[in-house]
Symmetry: C2
Subunit: 213 residues, 2 copies
């Protein structure tokens, strides 16, 4: 869950439990979430194994017990965040009532509201962008994610055009919307005082409206 990013630094220190059986995968999940918090807090470059261990309150050796390497942990973390964002968006779409236009408006709304439109969440997402270019694995996941996102968006845009009885270039419109959202995420993350979430959403909705005229 993206919400788990909300800085829940564990307070209790001291000796840790050894050999305690937990639900399978919960430790993995905890490590992944600690990794996200580290990237959000210190940036990607300063996200070391030591820091992740401290954040997750585990010993150094445990990470390589649950993950074959740091690269794999990073890849899993990216995958998790991508799935979180996708799930959050899907949830918003399914909760919307009305036609294609309502679904599109729901997508725009969820993109500029917590937990997605949150400085820490976007910082992690942004931190991964520069790594996507150099990591084979991450690049593959990224392309698949964005391709499917644009495809889904184009489908809804096409449906909205039918609703309104106008013709649009759906692929181009989908490209426009994804780029605009990414750009607003980026710029707000790098300077949250430059504009408000409301302004970002309004700008996005204005462009959406402009696409159908």
């Amino acid at each position: 869950m993206v919400g788990a990013l909300k800085s829940v630094r564990s307070a209790k220190k001291g000796p840790r439990a050894r050999g305690v059986r937990e639900e399978p995968g919960v430790r993995r999940q905890a490590i992944v979430e600690a990794t996200m918090r580290c990237i959000a807090e210190y940036g990607y470059a300063a996200t070391t194994i030591d820091r992740i261990c401290e954040e997750a309150d585990i010993s150094r050796g445990l990470i390589n017990h649950h993950f074959s390497s740091k690269d794999e942990l990073i890849a899993q973390t990216y995958k998790q965040l991508a799935e979180d964002l996708k799930a959050e968006t899907r949830r918003a779409v399914q909760a919307s009532e009305g036609g294609a236009e309502a679904r599109l408006r729901a997508i725009v709304r969820v993109s500029f509201q917590a937990p997605i439109f949150d400085e820490r969440t976007l910082a992690v997402w942004l931190g991964f962008w520069s790594v996507v270019r150099t990591s084979e694995v991450l690049r593959g996941m990224h392309r698949e994610l964005y391709a499917s996102y644009r495809r889904a968006l184009a489908g809804i845009l096409e449906a909205m055009a039918r609703e309104r009885g106008v013709a649009i270039d759906a692929p181009r419109a989908a490209l426009t919307l994804t780029a605009l959202i990414d750009g607003l995420w980026l710029e707000w993350c790098l300077d949250p005082q430059a504009f408000s979430p409301e302004a970002a959403e309004a700008a996005c909705l204005a462009v959406l409206e402009g696409l159908f005229r």
Copy 2:
């Protein structure tokens, strides 16, 4: 110059000249450009002092003679690239003939043409984004750059609105355009096969047109 990024790996190896007097600052410039090439080629994380030295064909110690630290070198490199992008855009605007609309179209055009819209150039720019969040110095430069860019854009948008005799929300329109351009840079850089430069420019021009209706 941004164009210097075009991978001009020096071929000649062997012993290097010692103590040769050169124009002041040319070595600094060469190191900065080598840094850009490294970020473009290997990514920000893999841009080490050793690699920069190899790329610039100098010894390891020389960097700390021209720059007080790696951080300063990185900051200088960011500054250089930011100035290059700004200068390239300004050039395009000044070369344009006509009114505010022509100037805006020139800005859009130059944003999606070489040397700016180039995989290596954008990779460096993208590589810096995640660092901007964690470096005090870079963050300051970034905010100043984007604030002035949006301000200038809003001015031209206002002028174009006057030309057409319509009223627009110029600050919001400027925010929209910068975010859209950044988003298209980002997405094309991470997946150049997702869409063509022409499609990106067309999408941007369509949004520009939509802002005035």
